[in-house]
Protein backbone atom coordinates (compact mmCIF):
# COMPACT_ATOMS: atom_id res chain seq x y z
CA UNK A 1 0.00 0.00 0.00
CA UNK A 2 1.23 3.48 -0.79
CA UNK A 3 1.43 6.07 1.99
CA UNK A 4 2.29 9.74 2.12
CA UNK A 5 4.36 10.27 5.23
CA UNK A 6 6.82 12.66 6.84
CA UNK A 7 10.29 11.35 7.57
CA UNK A 8 13.32 12.95 9.12
CA UNK A 9 16.97 12.59 8.24
CA UNK A 10 20.23 14.14 9.31
CA UNK A 11 22.02 15.36 6.20
CA UNK A 12 25.73 16.01 6.25
CA UNK A 13 26.99 18.71 3.93
CA UNK A 14 30.57 19.62 2.99
CA UNK A 15 31.29 23.37 3.28
CA UNK A 16 31.98 23.58 -0.45
CA UNK A 17 28.21 23.36 -0.96
CA UNK A 18 27.50 26.41 1.19
CA UNK A 19 26.44 29.68 -0.33
CA UNK A 20 23.38 30.73 -2.27
CA UNK A 21 22.53 27.21 -3.33
CA UNK A 22 22.84 25.63 0.09
CA UNK A 23 19.21 24.57 0.32
CA UNK A 24 19.11 23.31 -3.26
CA UNK A 25 22.25 21.26 -2.67
CA UNK A 26 20.77 19.86 0.52
CA UNK A 27 17.55 18.87 -1.21
CA UNK A 28 19.22 17.25 -4.19
CA UNK A 29 21.59 15.32 -1.90
CA UNK A 30 18.59 14.19 0.10
CA UNK A 31 16.84 12.94 -3.03
CA UNK A 32 19.94 11.12 -4.22
CA UNK A 33 20.49 9.49 -0.83
CA UNK A 34 16.95 8.52 0.00
CA UNK A 35 14.83 7.94 -3.10
CA UNK A 36 14.77 4.31 -4.06
CA UNK A 37 15.97 3.05 -0.68
CA UNK A 38 14.10 0.63 1.50
CA UNK A 39 13.69 0.09 5.22
CA UNK A 40 11.79 -2.52 7.20
CA UNK A 41 9.84 0.12 9.03
CA UNK A 42 8.70 2.41 6.20
CA UNK A 43 9.08 0.26 3.14
CA UNK A 44 10.38 1.64 -0.17
CA UNK A 45 10.78 5.41 -0.54
CA UNK A 46 9.34 5.97 -4.00
CA UNK A 47 9.52 9.75 -4.31
CA UNK A 48 10.12 12.79 -2.17
CA UNK A 49 7.27 15.24 -2.66
CA UNK A 50 8.35 18.17 -0.52
CA UNK A 51 10.55 19.54 2.22
CA UNK A 52 8.71 20.40 5.39
CA UNK A 53 11.49 21.85 7.44
CA UNK A 54 15.27 22.26 7.49
CA UNK A 55 16.67 22.72 10.98
CA UNK A 56 19.68 24.67 12.10
CA UNK A 57 22.99 23.26 10.93
CA UNK A 58 25.42 21.89 13.48
CA UNK A 59 29.14 21.90 12.78
CA UNK A 60 30.73 18.54 13.50
CA UNK A 61 33.78 18.68 15.74
CA UNK A 62 36.95 17.90 13.93
CA UNK A 63 35.62 17.56 10.39
CA UNK A 64 34.01 20.84 9.43
CA UNK A 65 31.03 19.05 7.91
CA UNK A 66 27.69 20.47 8.95
CA UNK A 67 24.68 18.34 9.89
CA UNK A 68 21.17 19.58 9.06
CA UNK A 69 18.09 17.79 10.37
CA UNK A 70 15.66 17.70 7.44
CA UNK A 71 11.96 16.84 7.63
CA UNK A 72 10.54 15.80 4.27
CA UNK A 73 7.33 14.40 2.82
CA UNK A 74 7.49 11.35 0.63
CA UNK A 75 5.49 8.58 -0.98
CA UNK A 76 6.42 5.15 0.36
CA UNK A 77 5.31 1.65 -0.53
CA UNK A 78 4.94 -0.65 2.43
CA UNK A 79 3.39 -4.10 2.05
CA UNK A 80 1.54 -5.56 5.02
CA UNK A 81 0.83 -9.12 6.03
CA UNK A 82 -2.85 -9.75 5.39
CA UNK A 83 -3.06 -7.06 2.72
CA UNK A 84 -4.79 -7.90 -0.55
CA UNK A 85 -3.42 -6.30 -3.68
CA UNK A 86 -3.00 -6.75 -7.44
CA UNK A 87 0.27 -7.75 -9.05
CA UNK A 88 1.83 -8.72 -12.38
CA UNK A 89 3.22 -12.21 -12.85
CA UNK A 90 6.89 -12.12 -13.83
CA UNK A 91 7.95 -15.76 -13.77
CA UNK A 92 6.25 -19.14 -13.54
CA UNK A 93 7.85 -22.44 -12.57
CA UNK A 94 6.79 -25.68 -10.97
CA UNK A 95 7.42 -24.36 -7.45
CA UNK A 96 4.94 -21.53 -7.97
CA UNK A 97 5.09 -18.09 -9.53
CA UNK A 98 6.75 -14.72 -8.89
CA UNK A 99 4.79 -11.51 -9.17
CA UNK A 100 5.62 -7.84 -8.80
CA UNK A 101 3.60 -5.09 -7.16
CA UNK A 102 5.49 -1.87 -7.70
CA UNK A 103 8.97 -2.29 -6.23
CA UNK A 104 8.06 -5.39 -4.22
CA UNK A 105 8.47 -8.97 -5.35
CA UNK A 106 5.99 -11.58 -4.17
CA UNK A 107 6.29 -15.34 -4.40
CA UNK A 108 3.21 -17.58 -4.48
CA UNK A 109 4.05 -21.21 -3.81
CA UNK A 110 2.21 -23.95 -5.70
CA UNK A 111 0.80 -25.06 -2.32
CA UNK A 112 -1.08 -21.77 -2.19
CA UNK A 113 -2.44 -22.00 -5.71
CA UNK A 114 -5.90 -23.64 -5.98
CA UNK A 115 -5.71 -27.41 -6.34
CA UNK A 116 -7.60 -27.40 -9.61
CA UNK A 117 -4.78 -25.47 -11.29
CA UNK A 118 -1.89 -27.48 -12.69
CA UNK A 119 1.56 -26.49 -13.86
CA UNK A 120 2.18 -26.76 -17.60
CA UNK A 121 5.78 -26.47 -18.75
CA UNK A 122 6.83 -25.28 -22.19
CA UNK A 123 7.73 -22.04 -23.93
CA UNK A 124 5.28 -20.11 -21.76
CA UNK A 125 5.10 -22.07 -18.49
CA UNK A 126 1.75 -21.53 -16.81
CA UNK A 127 -0.81 -22.75 -14.31
CA UNK A 128 -4.13 -23.71 -15.87
CA UNK A 129 -7.42 -25.11 -14.64
CA UNK A 130 -8.42 -28.50 -15.98
CA UNK A 131 -11.01 -26.97 -18.32
CA UNK A 132 -8.51 -24.41 -19.55
CA UNK A 133 -10.72 -21.49 -18.57
CA UNK A 134 -8.25 -19.80 -16.23
CA UNK A 135 -4.56 -19.42 -16.95
CA UNK A 136 -1.72 -17.80 -15.02
CA UNK A 137 1.39 -17.00 -17.04
CA UNK A 138 4.01 -14.27 -17.41
CA UNK A 139 2.35 -10.85 -17.56
CA UNK A 140 -0.97 -12.11 -16.19
CA UNK A 141 -2.56 -9.83 -13.63
CA UNK A 142 -3.47 -11.49 -10.36
CA UNK A 143 -5.06 -10.47 -7.09
CA UNK A 144 -3.26 -12.02 -4.15
CA UNK A 145 -3.05 -11.82 -0.39
CA UNK A 146 0.27 -11.24 1.32
CA UNK A 147 0.82 -13.79 4.06
CA UNK A 148 4.37 -12.94 5.06
CA UNK A 149 7.06 -10.30 4.56
CA UNK A 150 10.80 -10.49 4.88
CA UNK A 151 13.14 -7.51 4.97
CA UNK A 152 16.79 -7.65 4.02
CA UNK A 153 19.33 -4.89 3.53
CA UNK A 154 17.93 -3.38 0.37
CA UNK A 155 14.47 -4.72 -0.26
CA UNK A 156 11.31 -6.27 1.04
CA UNK A 157 10.25 -9.65 -0.21
CA UNK A 158 6.80 -11.16 0.29
CA UNK A 159 5.04 -14.46 0.05
CA UNK A 160 1.43 -14.62 -0.95
CA UNK A 161 -1.55 -16.82 -1.64
CA UNK A 162 -4.31 -16.94 -4.23
CA UNK A 163 -6.18 -19.74 -2.55
CA UNK A 164 -8.86 -17.63 -0.81
CA UNK A 165 -12.17 -16.35 -2.20
CA UNK A 166 -12.03 -13.57 -4.75
CA UNK A 167 -8.29 -14.05 -5.32
CA UNK A 168 -6.58 -15.18 -8.50
CA UNK A 169 -6.48 -13.98 -12.09
CA UNK A 170 -8.17 -10.65 -12.66
CA UNK A 171 -10.77 -10.94 -15.35
CA UNK A 172 -11.17 -7.75 -17.22
CA UNK A 173 -14.73 -7.78 -18.58
CA UNK A 174 -13.65 -5.40 -21.33
CA UNK A 175 -11.18 -7.95 -22.63
CA UNK A 176 -13.49 -10.96 -22.45
Amino acid sequence: MFFHIVLERNMQLHPRHFGRNLRENLVSKLMKDVEGTCSGRHGFVVAITGIENVGKGLIRDGTGFVTFPVKYQCVVFRPFKGEILEAVVTMVNKMGFFAEAGPVQIFVSNHLIPDDMEFQSGDMPNYTTSDGSVKIQKDSEVRLKIIGTRVDATEIFCIGTIKDDFLGVINDPAAA
Binding site: H4, E35, F44, F80, G82, E100, G102, P103, D165
Partner: protein, 138 residues
Protein backbone atom coordinates in the same frame (compact mmCIF):
# COMPACT_ATOMS: atom_id res chain seq x y z
CA UNK B 1 12.23 -8.30 14.52
CA UNK B 2 9.82 -6.09 16.46
CA UNK B 3 6.52 -4.99 15.03
CA UNK B 4 6.10 -8.08 12.90
CA UNK B 5 4.55 -10.36 15.51
CA UNK B 6 1.04 -8.99 15.35
CA UNK B 7 0.93 -7.30 11.97
CA UNK B 8 -2.28 -8.15 10.12
CA UNK B 9 -3.88 -5.82 7.64
CA UNK B 10 -7.10 -7.85 7.68
CA UNK B 11 -7.63 -6.71 11.26
CA UNK B 12 -6.22 -3.24 10.62
CA UNK B 13 -3.21 -4.09 12.77
CA UNK B 14 -0.69 -2.08 10.79
CA UNK B 15 0.97 -0.06 13.51
CA UNK B 16 0.00 3.35 14.84
CA UNK B 17 2.27 5.21 12.49
CA UNK B 18 0.55 3.84 9.39
CA UNK B 19 -2.95 3.84 10.86
CA UNK B 20 -2.71 7.58 11.31
CA UNK B 21 -0.82 8.21 8.06
CA UNK B 22 -2.33 9.39 4.83
CA UNK B 23 -2.89 6.40 2.58
CA UNK B 24 -2.83 6.78 -1.20
CA UNK B 25 -4.82 4.90 -3.83
CA UNK B 26 -2.97 3.78 -6.96
CA UNK B 27 -4.78 6.38 -9.06
CA UNK B 28 -3.65 9.15 -6.69
CA UNK B 29 -0.05 7.91 -6.72
CA UNK B 30 -0.17 7.86 -10.53
CA UNK B 31 -1.02 11.58 -10.58
CA UNK B 32 1.70 12.42 -8.05
CA UNK B 33 4.43 10.45 -9.83
CA UNK B 34 3.40 11.81 -13.24
CA UNK B 35 3.69 15.35 -11.89
CA UNK B 36 7.06 14.65 -10.30
CA UNK B 37 8.38 13.05 -13.49
CA UNK B 38 7.37 16.12 -15.53
CA UNK B 39 9.09 18.36 -12.98
CA UNK B 40 12.30 16.32 -13.28
CA UNK B 41 12.15 16.43 -17.08
CA UNK B 42 11.88 20.20 -17.01
CA UNK B 43 14.73 20.62 -14.56
CA UNK B 44 17.40 18.57 -16.28
CA UNK B 45 18.64 18.14 -19.85
CA UNK B 46 19.25 14.41 -19.77
CA UNK B 47 15.76 13.02 -19.42
CA UNK B 48 15.08 9.82 -17.52
CA UNK B 49 18.48 9.72 -15.93
CA UNK B 50 17.34 10.81 -12.52
CA UNK B 51 14.68 8.36 -11.47
CA UNK B 52 15.42 5.27 -9.42
CA UNK B 53 14.30 1.80 -10.40
CA UNK B 54 11.87 1.93 -7.47
CA UNK B 55 10.27 5.05 -8.96
CA UNK B 56 10.02 3.55 -12.43
CA UNK B 57 8.55 0.27 -11.24
CA UNK B 58 6.08 2.09 -9.00
CA UNK B 59 5.03 4.40 -11.81
CA UNK B 60 4.45 1.51 -14.23
CA UNK B 61 2.52 -0.35 -11.54
CA UNK B 62 0.15 2.47 -10.61
CA UNK B 63 -0.45 3.36 -14.25
CA UNK B 64 -1.43 -0.23 -14.96
CA UNK B 65 -3.56 -0.75 -11.86
CA UNK B 66 -5.39 2.58 -11.59
CA UNK B 67 -9.13 2.09 -11.79
CA UNK B 68 -9.79 5.76 -12.41
CA UNK B 69 -7.70 7.89 -14.77
CA UNK B 70 -9.45 11.23 -14.65
CA UNK B 71 -8.26 13.47 -11.74
CA UNK B 72 -11.82 14.64 -11.03
CA UNK B 73 -13.02 11.06 -10.80
CA UNK B 74 -10.15 10.27 -8.42
CA UNK B 75 -11.18 13.14 -6.19
CA UNK B 76 -14.80 12.01 -6.26
CA UNK B 77 -13.85 8.48 -5.26
CA UNK B 78 -12.03 9.74 -2.19
CA UNK B 79 -14.87 12.10 -1.35
CA UNK B 80 -17.50 9.37 -1.58
CA UNK B 81 -15.55 6.82 0.39
CA UNK B 82 -14.78 9.40 3.06
CA UNK B 83 -18.49 9.65 3.89
CA UNK B 84 -18.44 6.17 5.37
CA UNK B 85 -16.52 5.70 8.60
CA UNK B 86 -13.51 4.01 7.08
CA UNK B 87 -9.88 4.01 8.11
CA UNK B 88 -7.53 5.46 5.47
CA UNK B 89 -6.12 2.01 4.78
CA UNK B 90 -9.58 0.47 4.24
CA UNK B 91 -10.62 3.35 1.99
CA UNK B 92 -7.63 2.83 -0.26
CA UNK B 93 -7.95 -0.95 -0.52
CA UNK B 94 -11.57 -0.46 -1.63
CA UNK B 95 -10.60 2.29 -4.07
CA UNK B 96 -7.87 0.08 -5.53
CA UNK B 97 -9.75 -3.18 -5.84
CA UNK B 98 -13.27 -1.85 -6.57
CA UNK B 99 -15.20 -4.88 -5.30
CA UNK B 100 -18.51 -5.43 -7.08
CA UNK B 101 -20.50 -7.20 -4.38
CA UNK B 102 -20.86 -6.79 -0.64
CA UNK B 103 -19.45 -10.28 -0.16
CA UNK B 104 -16.33 -9.38 -2.15
CA UNK B 105 -15.90 -6.11 -0.25
CA UNK B 106 -15.95 -7.92 3.07
CA UNK B 107 -13.46 -10.49 1.79
CA UNK B 108 -11.10 -7.72 0.63
CA UNK B 109 -11.41 -5.62 3.78
CA UNK B 110 -12.55 -7.90 6.60
CA UNK B 111 -12.00 -5.14 9.14
CA UNK B 112 -15.02 -3.14 7.95
CA UNK B 113 -17.20 -5.72 9.63
CA UNK B 114 -15.20 -6.32 12.75
CA UNK B 115 -14.43 -2.87 14.00
CA UNK B 116 -17.82 -2.26 15.54
CA UNK B 117 -18.68 0.65 13.31
CA UNK B 118 -22.03 -0.82 12.27
CA UNK B 119 -21.33 -1.15 8.57
CA UNK B 120 -24.35 -3.18 7.66
CA UNK B 121 -24.66 -4.79 4.26
CA UNK B 122 -26.98 -2.06 3.01
CA UNK B 123 -24.49 0.69 3.73
CA UNK B 124 -21.71 -1.28 2.02
CA UNK B 125 -23.92 -1.93 -1.00
CA UNK B 126 -24.77 1.75 -1.33
CA UNK B 127 -21.07 2.61 -1.14
CA UNK B 128 -20.20 0.13 -3.91
CA UNK B 129 -23.02 1.47 -6.09
CA UNK B 130 -21.79 5.02 -5.67
CA UNK B 131 -18.29 3.89 -6.66
CA UNK B 132 -19.46 2.11 -9.77
CA UNK B 133 -21.41 5.18 -10.88
CA UNK B 134 -18.21 7.20 -10.99
CA UNK B 135 -16.62 4.56 -13.18
CA UNK B 136 -19.56 4.68 -15.57
CA UNK B 137 -19.40 8.43 -16.00
CA UNK B 138 -15.64 8.86 -15.91
Amino acid sequence: MSGEEEENAAELKIGDEFLKAKCLMNCEVALILEHKYEQLQQMSDDAGNHVSQVFEKSQQYVKRFSRYKNPDAVRQVREILSRYQLAEFELCVLGNLCPETVEEAIAMVPSIKTKGRAHDDEAIEKMLNDLSLIKKFE
